[in-house]
């Protein structure tokens, strides 16, 4: 009979061990118990989920089908309460019992919440508004709550606390990090490094940092109102995240009479001390006195245990891991390994600091081997240092090469010299061998390999090594990621090259572009090309109507039943009684099924059949609001200084002026703007493609690259100016820069971070490339060429332009709202 293998804990270590066992052909009847109601996900990516750079769905490593496919019985959402070592059974909280021949405990750890008064409410667990950061459910709850609150305090200035603080900024405006020790990441960094990091965190990210701040109380009876520190200071807040360390989940083992200190004691085969058939891996295990809190050691542990259990190598031994730490906060690079300070008098130490740039580095060498390294602000050498540290490699004579690239390949890891089992991506545990075999199986693009293996998809620091391995393994046959760099899929060229070719050959119609550059016509590329050509040639563009999407052919947005919606322009969201009356009359006359306010502050008439569009426009006699194109949409405004008692700028006037000027301009994606009369931000300007915020002293802040659709991002501050006129000019210049450089359908929230706000600012505000005048002129030409499309209603542009395409009866009818 097959041996029964039971695994308690369905986290990163448990699932990885089972994967390793299956990879070795291990023949067990496997049952897994997990407290969390999910398959196995990549816990370290929770930071990215919180920061909004990764979707929840993207972090799953083993979804439920994986368990089914491999014949594993998974009890997700079932907690094991007790092990009977003699009867060889485990007991779950739901009363069931399961026998085993071999047992693996992989229960990980949980957040440690110090006994701060106010953190808990009797009988209710955490105080509402107090969160730990360990599981997907924690992360979801935190995001949900943070979105509705204003100020967060993160308790704990370690790795997790920093990542939590950064992530929270994505959801609320004020974040303070309170750390009990004298400097950040004190476990990994010395004072100088931690202090450099603090300055970067404060200045670059705008997170307030309090060090030497021992939290003594959480204030607030029903809702959290603040935290109190030992020195009496009170920091007001309405959300608290406790990231003060972790504790191994070993109580269940202890209660079952297994040996436990800080974790479950295991030997070099990961066997629980003095047990024959019980093993422990991951953060719950204590091996040679060490309990780890990072993933890299558990990959090694999983391999050893799998070798041992499957009999591939019954004598495999785990000897402990050298751990290196990396911070996953975009723009703040920190890596640390081994010692943070010399311990012996003859330890060699090299230190380099450039505080103004936020750079601090040191390396510590003992007997010619690297025993410690810290990199803050510049981690270019991290891959090399980690190898040297991990493998005890000989170090270059020129010690400075450890810290700097001194020209030449010295110090770069040669990928051909790396062993096959050498781990490249420590976050996701991917070895060089795995990358090579993925390439050999036919996947020859860097991004393809990254998608398949997940290498490089954690903290991202290993990407360059992954790239070099793929290049090497493909033997020079590495394939460019084709579509990735193309402007549209059908023409194999990135945007700048495509624009050059279009100019060179004077291609003024979509069909001529295909004929000259693309070979076959491609329906999916037509719309993007039409937009680009219109932008480039303005009035000279040869408009072929078939290149347009239906919305642009009939200047209305197609709905699920094949009817269209009509949204008249309402600049800045400001309307008049006369306009409202007219809209009401038209809606009545044409029995419009639904009249609705849009999110963009105007009025939508929904359910208009195509053939009636010209008539509706004629009756309205208003310009198009462009609620259908990849184009400039609206400018939302708040009432501003004319009426609002907080207003410091005339937001409505500026919004109307912006919409007046840039109405209908097409681009690679939608452009939604807003102007708000003060930083209270009622018009939601921080989350617009371009948002303008009036601030005290007659000044205006311009934010770019914001979004509040499926993707939410606060815009980056482009600049602050002192007149509406400057806002109008810079808006045009930024939009033109976006139109010329963004890929098709790339919204500003992707474009701005891709190019980098510093670069955007340099070009748009400081004219570093000397193209400001050209951008302005190009935009001026587009503005001049504007013509309201709803005026073209008397003569159809093509035969049957407005002919119905459907017998509407076959469709679900949109209900008429009374």
């Amino acid at each position: 009979m097959r041996q029964r293998l039971v695994v308690i804990g369905n986290g990163m270590a448990g699932a990885r061990t089972v994967e390793e066992i299956l990879a070795r052909g291990g023949d067990f009847e496997i049952t897994m118990f997990g407290d969390e109601p999910y398959g196995n996900y990549n816990r370290i990516m929770l930071s990215n989920v919180l920061a909004g750079v990764e979707d929840e769905s993207g972090i799953f490593l083993n979804d439920l089908s994986w368990y089914a496919d491999n014949g594993i019985t998974l009890h997700a959402g079932t907690r094991i309460e007790r092990i009977d070592r003699f009867a060889k059974r485990v007991y779950a909280e739901d009363g069931t019992e399961t026998p085993y021949d071999k047992l693996i405990i992989a229960t990980g750890s949980r957040a440690f919440v110090p006994p701060i008064p106010g953190a808990h409410r009797p009988g209710r667990g955490y105080h509402q508004g107090v969160f730990a950061f360990r599981t997907l459910d924690d992360t979801r709850a935190m995001i949900r709550y943070a979105k509705e609150h204003e100020r967060a305090v993160v308790i704990g200035g370690g790795l997790l606390g920093l990542e939590a603080a950064r992530g929270l900024q994505n959801h609320l405006p004020h974040v303070t990090l309170v750390h009990a020790m004298g400097h950040l990441m004190n476990t990994q960094l010395n004072f100088a490094a931690g202090d450099t990091l603090r300055k970067t965190i404060e200045e670059k990210l705008g997170i307030e940092v309090v060090v030497d701040g021992m939290t003594t109380e959480i204030l607030g009876k029903h809702a959290v109102t603040g935290v109190k520190l030992a020195d009496g200071r009170v920091i007001p807040c309405d959300v608290i995240v406790v990231a003060a360390g972790i504790r191994a989940n070993s109580e269940m083992a202890a209660a079952s009479d297994l040996p436990v200190e800080r974790g479950i004691l295991v030997d070099d085969q990961m066997r629980v001390q003095d047990e024959d058939d019980i093993y422990a891996v991951g953060e719950c295990a204590q091996h040679r006195g060490e309990v780890y809190g990072l993933v890299a050691p558990l990959w090694d542990q999983a391999k050893v245990l799998a070798d041992h259990l499957t009999g591939v190598n019954p004598l495999a031994e785990y000897h402990g891991s050298q751990v290196a730490t990396k911070l996953k906060v975009a723009g703040v690079d920190v890596a640390a390994m081994g010692l943070k300070e010399p311990e012996h008098p003859d330890d060699e130490v090299l230190t380099f600091a450039e505080p103004k740039k936020g750079i601090y580095k040191n390396v510590i060498i003992r007997d010619g081997r690297l025993v410690g390294a810290t990199l803050v602000g510049d981690v270019k050498k991290v891959a090399f240092l980690m190898q040297a540290f991990d493998r005890g490699l000989a170090l270059p004579e020129e010690r400075a090469e450890l810290m700097f690239d001194l020209g030449g390949p010295a110090g770069e890891v040669k990928v051909e010299d790396m062993a096959d089992d050498e781990q490249v991506c420590n976050c996701n545990g991917v070895s060089k061998g795995t990358i090579c075999s993925t390439v050999q199986s036919g996947c020859k693009t860097v991004s393809g390999v990254m998608d398949k293996t997940r290498a490089g998809k954690g903290c991202g620091t290993c990407k360059s090594v992954v790239q070099r391995i793929v290049e090497w393994a493909a033997g020079g046959e590495v394939e460019e990621d084709p579509a990735a760099s193309y402007y549209v899929p059908g023409i194999p060229m990135p945007k700048p090259e495509l624009m050059n070719a279009i100019r060179l050959h004077e291609l003024k119609s979509v069909s001529s572009v295909f004929a000259k550059l693309g070979g076959d016509e491609d329906a999916k590329s037509k719309m993007g090309l039409a937009s680009l050509l219109k932008m480039m040639w303005g009035g000279e563009y040869v408009d072929e109507r078939d290149a347009r999407f239906i919305n642009d052919r009939v200047h209305a947005n197609i709905q699920r039943d094949g009817t269209f919606s009509v949204v008249p322009q309402m600049k800045g969201g400001v309307t008049t009684p006369a306009q409202l009356k007219r809209i009401a009359e038209v809606a009545e006359k044409h029995e419009v099924p639904m009249v609705k306010l849009t999110g963009g502050q105007r009025i939508d008439l929904l359910g208009i059949p195509k053939e009636k569009l010209p008539e509706v426009w004629a009756d309205l006699d208003m310009p198009s609001g462009y609620a259908y194109g990849k184009s400039f949409r609206t400018v939302k405004t708040c009432v501003g200084s004319d009426f609002c008692r907080f207003g410091v700028g005339d937001s409505t006037a500026l919004g109307i002026a912006l919409e007046e000027r840039y109405q209908g301009i097409e681009g690679p994606g939608k452009m939604k703007l807003a102007v708000t009369g003060c930083p209270r931000n009622c018009a939601e300007a921080y989350v617009k493609d371009l948002g303008v915020v009036a601030i005290d002293g007659g000044k205006w802040e311009i934010y770019v690259g914001g979004a509040a659709g499926a993707h939410i991002r606060k815009g980056d501050l482009l600049t602050t100016v002192s007149s509406p006129e400057e806002v109008i000019v810079l808006t045009g210049r930024f939009l033109q820069y976006y139109r010329e450089n963004a890929n098709w359908l790339e919204r500003t929230y992707a474009f701005v971070p891709r190019v980098g706000i510093d670069k955007v600012r340099a070009v748009v505000v400081d004219d570093s490339e000397g193209i400001a005048a050209d951008l302005d002129a190009a935009m001026e030409a587009s503005v001049g060429a504007y013509r309201d499309p709803w005026k073209d209603r008397d003569e159809p542009a093509t035969p049957g332009q407005f002919r119905t395409s459907l017998p509407l009866i076959v469709l679900p009818q949109v209900p008429v709202r009374a």
């Binding site: 329906a523 037509k526 078939d546 239906i550 197609i558 093509t798 049957g800 002919r803 395409s805 459907l806």
Partner: protein, 98 residues
């Protein structure tokens, strides 16, 4: 075989819907001058295929951007296939049927 429209009723590269014996048929005029005919109703969720964008091979439904091969009616994006009809050009007339 019978005439159902003039080629001039359909702009190059676009489609139009015609009623034929109670059926709604979308006829497309490709940029190479040839014509194709499919059912006018998208098999996915009833979208108006004649409002879709086309090239020499496929039509893309405007509602959810699924694609079908214009010649065979086979779905190119995992949807049910769409009915296709034999269609040809005789002088300026679009002729439906074999």
């Amino acid at each position: 075989m019978r005439p159902i429209a003039s080629v001039h009723d359909i702009p190059l590269g676009e489609g139009r819907t015609f009623a034929v014996d109670g059926d709604m048929i979308a006829i497309f005029r490709l940029r190479d001058g040839s014509v194709r005919a499919t059912s006018a109703v998208c098999p996915h969720k009833g979208g108006p295929l004649a409002d879709g964008q086309i090239d020499l091979k496929q039509v893309i439904c405007p509602l959810h951007l699924n694609a079908w091969d214009l010649r065979t009616g086979c779905s190119l994006s995992g949807q049910p296939d769409v009915a296709v009809y034999p269609v040809s050009i005789d002088d300026d007339k679009i002729m439906l049927g074999d």
